[in-house]
């Protein structure tokens, strides 16, 4: 029992889980309606979309890079999905498939440009962010697409047992697949190896170019999926979808113990990072924080969550050294 607990304490997800439990207890005790079924549903809806956004960035962090165009890809795919249904009356599954394909293509473009040119991912994705967002605005002229298929709307509004939104299912499935891929599949190990030490990975026979392109393609796919889920949730294709994703996409993996230099990420801890950010965001609304101070408090609380996790990790590593 002690051994299992010690193992759990050493894992990346233990700290974020502890912070999550403490946050739920504190917010729930001050405001009991926080734990009402409707509020849990609202919380899960936020987690469903934000989880995919965080996973999209997490994969790129795993290879030691960053993707500034996550939001632009998600936004572009969202308006393609909504626009195809609205303008061309394309059936929802076909529109979704097209939008997801565009997400993958955007990711591949990022990956190929980074791998072939040797220019840093920061610069390349900064440029493609502008390109993808520009295409979005060129298509929409900043006008939303409204005529979304009823099936998409019902998925966005539906909930299992009235509590768990349908939109949680793809996020949970993606989480499981990513965990399996990163821990049990060669491509997952390649991604972590390239992030950990690119030179050593290359000497081991891993194709850096293929790995980088694959990671970016998967990242593009996940950003596109997040965009699709958001269209279902909002019941419209807003051109501004994705504009606010950047901070969250980094905050959740970092809270989850990801190393920005690459080589180490955790799927469950990243998801818990998303949960923490969602709880903080909700708490600021429930406690009626002055709107002009919301950003300050949000930033401070994210820092506190990251700090708590880092404190736990450093104490643990000191303990292990003493042993």
């Amino acid at each position: 029992m002690n051994g299992s607990l010690a193992n759990a304490m050493r894992s990346d997800w233990f700290g974020p889980l502890l912070v999550t439990i403490i946050a739920v207890v504190i917010v729930g005790s001050f405001n009991p309606s926080f734990l009402s079924p409707l509020n849990i549903q609202v919380l899960l809806l936020a987690i469903a979309v934000n989880g995919l956004i965080a996973f999209s960035q997490m994969l790129i962090i795993a290879i030691g890079q960053m993707n500034l165009s996550v939001g632009a890809i998600g936004g572009l795919c969202a308006i393609v999905f909504a626009g195809m249904m609205d303008v061309w009356h394309v059936p929802a599954p076909l529109a979704a498939l097209s939008a997801l394909s565009i997400g993958v293509i955007c990711g591949i473009i990022n990956g190929v440009l980074i791998a072939r040119t040797g220019i840093s991912a920061f610069v390349i994705t900064l440029a493609t962010l502008s390109v993808y967002k520009g295409i979005n605005l060129g298509i929409t002229h900043a006008q939303p697409f409204y005529n979304i298929a009823e099936s998409v709307k019902s998925v966005g509004q539906g909930a299992i047992f009235g509590v768990v939104p349908w939109l949680m299912l793809p996020t949970m499935a993606v989480g499981l697949v990513l965990w399996f891929m990163l821990n049990r599949q060669p491509i997952g190990r390649f991604i972590l190896a390239v992030g950990g030490n690119q030179h050593a990975a290359e000497l081991s026979g891993i194709s850096i170019e293929n790995t980088v392109v694959t990671a970016h393609a998967l990242s593009g796919f996940l950003a596109a999926l997040a965009g699709l889920l958001l269209v279902a949730r909002l019941q419209m294709g807003q051109p501004t979808i994705g504009d606010d994703w950047l901070i969250l996409s980094f905050a959740a993996p970092v809270i989850g113990g990801a190393i920005l230099a690459g080589g180490h990420v955790s799927v469950p801890a990243t998801l818990l990072g998303v949960v923490i950010v969602a709880i903080i965001t909700q708490a600021l609304v429930l406690f009626d924080i002055d709107p002009f101070l919301v950003q300050v408090v949000l930033g401070a609380m994210i820092l506190a969550a990251v700090g708590a996790n880092r404190f736990r990790e450093s104490r643990l590593s000191r303990k292990l050294k003493r042993l």
Binding site: N31, S36, N39, Q238, T240, I241, D243, D244, V285, L286
Partner: protein, 341 residues
């Protein structure tokens, strides 16, 4: 707004004033530049096209910065100047921060009018043509409070970007109207003029506090849309709501009885009249020093482009309300505000 309605509006305006293109400068190339991408400004695009056609301008193009960032807007404006645009209708990215760029444009011979939002005085902008946002929020709150029958009258206010100079004016106006009617503004949720934060925060608020609030006033486009969907979702018609603008979601929610009404603004009129005036200024007209400008917190040269409350009984004819407002303003605009030789 459909193309047909836009044409009707434009033809109506032209016939109302009998304006030809005789005095228009054929080389006028006007840019209509919002602070960033936002559905409110979409009507500016058609308004610019209609005005260019009606007044014989070289162009009147809608140009959108990719993000709501002052630096991006400033770069776009400077770029447009070098591309030959010689008149600008601008929603300020920042009422103070944009002034130096406006001065630069005007010093290069391109007149500037503030559209939908104002520059902080002193600036080289000719005037500001926009919604009296404080008045609109004030009237909307009063309309909301008329529908509340209980004694407590607790209202929540959902509003837009904190960097938008209009947001504080709206917050103050809602508070003032509430105090006058003995109501309480129980919460202000701001900075939610984007879909994701609006969805998350409004739904979280209603999930926790639906029983603690009797009415909702929204004073920005996206919060109005999201709140309309939210009250429809919880299906509680006890909570009364007054929205803003004319998004399809809002209009449908009014028809279905989930939202009581909306405060219309006049983005088409701002774009159309703004373009017309910029051409006139280029043609040698000047702004009258004794024109009956209004004042607001930012400028002493403010012109109200009009606002109107539309409830379920008028929701199908809301375009008429916008047309009437624009027509009235346009009929007398030149005589009231300009001196032309």
């Amino acid at each position: 707004m459909s193309n047909y309605l836009r044409r009707v509006l434009a033809i109506g305006l032209l016939s109302a004033v009998g304006v030809g293109s005789a005095s228009a400068a054929g080389d006028s190339k006007i840019a209509l530049v919002p602070g960033g991408p936002h559905p409110y400004f979409a009507a500016w695009e058609q308004a610019g096209k209609d005005a260019a056609k009606d007044f014989g301008l070289a162009a009147a193009d809608y140009k959108v910065p990719q993000k709501w960032e002052l630096s991006q807007q400033n770069q776009l404006l400077e770029s447009l100047l070098t591309q030959g645009y010689n008149g600008f209708l601008i929603f300020p990215g920042d009422p103070v921060g944009s002034v130096s760029t406006v001065d630069e444009l005007v010093s290069n011979g391109a007149p500037v009018v503030g559209g939908a939002g104002c520059f902080k005085d002193p600036s080289s902008a000719s005037f500001c043509l926009g919604t009296d946002t404080g008045n609109s929020a004030y009237i909307g709150t009063k309309e909301l409070l008329k529908t509340l029958t209980g004694t407590k009258k607790r209202i929540a206010h959902f509003t837009g970007f904190l960097v938008d100079p209009n947001t504080q004016l709206r917050i103050d106006a809602v508070k003032k109207a509430a105090e006058e009617e003995g109501a309480t503004v129980v919460q202000v949720i701001a900075d939610i003029d984007a879909p994701e934060p609006a969805e998350e925060k409004i739904n979280a608020y209603l999930a926790a506090h639906a029983n603690d609030v009797d009415g909702i006033i929204t004073s920005a486009w996206v919060p109005a849309v999201v709140a309309s969907n939210a009250v429809r979702k919880i299906g509680d018609k006890r909570i009364k709501m007054v929205a803003i603008d004319h998004d399809e979601v809002v209009l449908k929610a009014i028809k279905d009885g989930f939202v009581n009404g909306t405060m219309l603004q006049n983005p088409y009129g701002q774009g159309y009249i703004g373009t017309f005036v910029l051409d006139k200024l280029r043609s040698g007209c000047t702004v009258k020093t004794d024109a009956p400008f209004k004042k607001n917190a930012l400028t002493d040269k403010f012109i109200d482009s009009g606002t109107a409350y539309v409830a379920a009984d008028k929701v199908d004819t809301y375009v008429d309300a916008m047309r009437d407002t624009t027509k009235k303003l346009f009929e007398t605009f030149q005589a009231t505000y300009l001196t032309c030789k």
